[in-house]
């Protein structure tokens, strides 16, 4: 067991991957000399050199596309997109090429590329640096979408992604980088990324979340427990392919679900989860599924306005209270 931050866990996984497999290299904006915009790759340039820790121009489409080409050519690129907002400049390569190549080539080609993307709000970065667009990527067949919310997942999911033969997007919520946690490296190296995690068992209501809102959701579960409500907390971990079974099993037990998602409500991943529950667990529900999402507004800068826009613990508590009888 080692105690380290989420940032250090990603870095440790990068270092292990770079050491273990000569095909692996990291490229992106300021990953080398600068050490990464979030200091994730700090020190790696010195250790692995500029061939394998490649600073790129501010050309998202070209370097994501180059990642696709390098993967086609036998490498195992890890592409860092500094923030999700910049990923929009590479959407053509992601949607039209990375996701489609295996299928449209009749299975002849595949793209074993890992793309790491910092995501999310909560740092007063305002309207162009605070998005939660995981759902856009999770919409696309042909790519996989991982959202590590813990230190072990930050480490293990990156290594597992490198074992995949398809493009994998890893969304790292930027508020998680300083998060501390315990890492059992050997265990994390064997982790199964196909399953959602039951983080807190409970019997009265299922709180479903992923990524940056896991912490708030656990806090809400703690507060609910003090009120006598046993909330089960699910961390989805992987949005695509989705582990629906774990969700349905939990809802069959609790009969109630609150989905917490930092994205805007309309067309959110929470909407997809809600639909899945309605389709496959309608008869087990004792209350309509509730969603706690961000307000439908471009993210404001001022701290109190941003806080008002983002999902907060008290909203999660209230949503759960309202659907559980004899409480609240």
């Amino acid at each position: 067991m080692t105690k380290l931050t989420y940032r250090e866990a990603v870095r440790a996984a990068l270092r292990k991957a770079l050491r273990d497999d000569p095909r692996v290299f990291l490229m992106g904006e300021d990953v080398g000399g600068y050490g990464g915009a979030f200091a994730v790759s700090h020190g790696l340039l010195k250790e692995f050199g500029p061939e394998r820790i490649r600073d790129t121009p501010l050309s998202e489409s070209a370097f994501v596309g180059a990642g696709i080409g390098a993967a086609l050519g036998g490498m195992r690129p890890i592409v860092e997109i500094m923030t999700v907002n910049f990923s929009l400049l590479a959407m053509d390569q992601i949607v039209n090429n990375a996701a489609a190549l295996r299928h449209m080539s009749g299975g002849q080609f595949n793209v074993p590329m890992v793309v790491r993307v910092a995501t999310g709000g909560g740092r007063q970065m305002a309207a162009q640096h605070s998005h939660s667009l995981e759902v856009w990527y999770a919409h696309i067949p042909g790519i996989k979408v991982l959202t590590p919310a813990t230190v072990p997942d930050a480490y293990g999911m990156l290594l597992a992604a490198l074992q995949e033969s398809d493009p994998v997007f890893i969304f790292e919520h930027a508020t998680l980088y300083p998060l501390e946690g315990e890492l059992d490296e050997a265990a994390a190296e064997q982790m199964d990324i196909s399953r959602a995690a039951v983080v807190r068992p409970g019997s009265d209501v299922t709180l479903i979340t992923y990524g940056g809102t896991l912490g708030k959701t656990i806090q809400a579960a703690d507060q609910l427990r003090e009120m006598g409500i046993q909330a089960e907390v699910l961390d989805l971990r992987t949005l695509r392919p989705l582990d629906a079974r774990t969700i349905l099993t939990s809802v069959a037990k609790t009969h109630r679900a609150v989905i917490v998602d930092e994205a805007w409500r309309s067309g959110s991943f929470a909407a997809e989860i809600s639909a899945r529950i309605m389709e496959d667990a309608f008869d087990s529900l004792d209350a309509p599924v509730a969603r706690v999402c961000s307000a439908e507004v471009p993210m404001p800068y001022a701290k109190h306005l941003e806080a008002a826009a983002l999902p907060q613990t008290d909203e999660i508590v209230r949503a759960a209270q309202e659907m559980v009888p004899h409480h609240g």
């Binding site: 121009p57 596309g65 180059a66 390098a70 086609l72 050519g73 449209m104 009749g106 002849q108």
Partner: protein, 332 residues
């Protein structure tokens, strides 16, 4: 050897020249048949014909070795044929059959062949360029001496991906030959209406890579220029931009009524038909008799007829395989 051969011309090589003519004819007849099959409802979706541009596809491909990677566009039938993908496999792909080069999943715009390092068929203009950069990066990082040939049209030059890719390839000195098949129209918009600087090869200067522009209706000129470009790249000088100035005789696609080209322009360019020009040249040099040409046409015709028969008789991909090849197994 011949009085009409200029000093820039390579020495007469009858066998090779007849091969070039044959390759151009294969493309022409294949495309004519594809148009016919489209009209008969055998081919659907978009169909972008290469007729008029045969010299660029045939000439340039002579510079590339089997180990080199090819990246093309949605107008890629010519390159695919010259690269050696059998006509029958390409026709079957356009028919949507399981025997097609992409199992009927790609169609006219998405030809792929792993065994020939033919990396597709990209239908988003400019979208193939970054992939070519990455293929070249992979070759360089693995110390392989291959290059990547990346075809695109003049329309792609207006895309950010053109500029990003040329810069990145030049910055990292990657072995890419960028081949711009300039047919003067980005779909229906004329070059002078979409480019402030219409001299495309000049744009290479902004990124510090060598470039050249050549008459794309002259197969020998294209071949010579492409070999020069490939040689420059193979000697480690980084990428090269080669502009091939050509013209398409047919509309942009089968659904294009072709209302935007001035009257007479197509007829003017038809006078420089790359196949007719080359045939005349070979005849002038006494290298091609009427009987030779008839034999060539008959051989090509038989190949195209076989392609249609094969496509017609081939099975459909079973619909229960619909979801195959969206994801593959883990642990590559």
């Amino acid at each position: 050897m011949s009085a009409t051969a200029t000093s820039e011309r390579p020495p007469v090589d009858r066998e090779h020249w007849l091969f070039l003519l044959r390759e151009m004819l294969r493309i022409r007849r294949f495309e004519e048949k594809a148009a016919e099959m489209y009209s008969l409802g055998k081919i659907h979706g978009f169909l972008h014909l290469y007729i008029g541009e045969e010299a660029t596809g045939v000439g340039a491909m002579q510079a590339f070795a089997p180990g080199d990677a090819i990246v093309a566009t949605y107008r890629e039938h010519g390159q695919a044929l010259v690269r050696g993908i059998p006509a029958r496999v390409l026709m079957a792909e356009m028919f949507g059959k399981a025997t097609g080069c992409s199992r009927g999943h790609g169609g006219s715009m998405h030809f792929f062949d792993a065994s020939r390092r033919f990396y597709g068929g990209y239908a988003i203009v400019g979208g193939g360029l970054p992939i070519a950069v990455g293929l070249a990066l992979a070759d360089k990082m693995q110390n392989r001496s291959n290059l990547t040939a990346c075809y695109f049209g003049d329309g792609a030059v207006a895309e950010g991906e053109f500029h990003e890719s040329l810069n990145l390839a030049a910055l990292w000195k990657l072995p890419v030959v960028f081949l711009c098949e300039n047919n003067l129209y980005a779909m229906g918009t004329a070059l002078e209406h979409h480019q402030a600087q219409t001299n495309i090869s000049a744009k290479a200067g902004a990124y510090g890579l060598p470039s050249n522009a050549v008459d794309g209706m002259d197969v020998l000129a294209v071949e010579a220029a492409a070999k020069q470009a490939a040689e420059s790249v193979r000697t480690g000088n980084g990428p090269f931009l080669l502009e091939l100035r050509t013209y398409r005789f047919r509309a942009h696609s089968m659904s294009d009524p072709d209302l935007y080209r001035p009257k007479g322009e197509i007829e003017e360019w038809r006078k420089r038909d790359p196949i007719a020009l080359f045939e005349a040249r070979l005849q002038q040099l006494g290298l091609l008799s009427p009987a030779d040409l008839a034999k060539l046409e008959a051989d090509v015709g038989a190949e195209i007829d076989d392609a249609v028969r094969f496509a017609e008789e081939s099975p459909w991909e079973p619909a229960d395989k619909l979801l195959d090849n969206v994801y593959g197994p883990a642990k590559p």
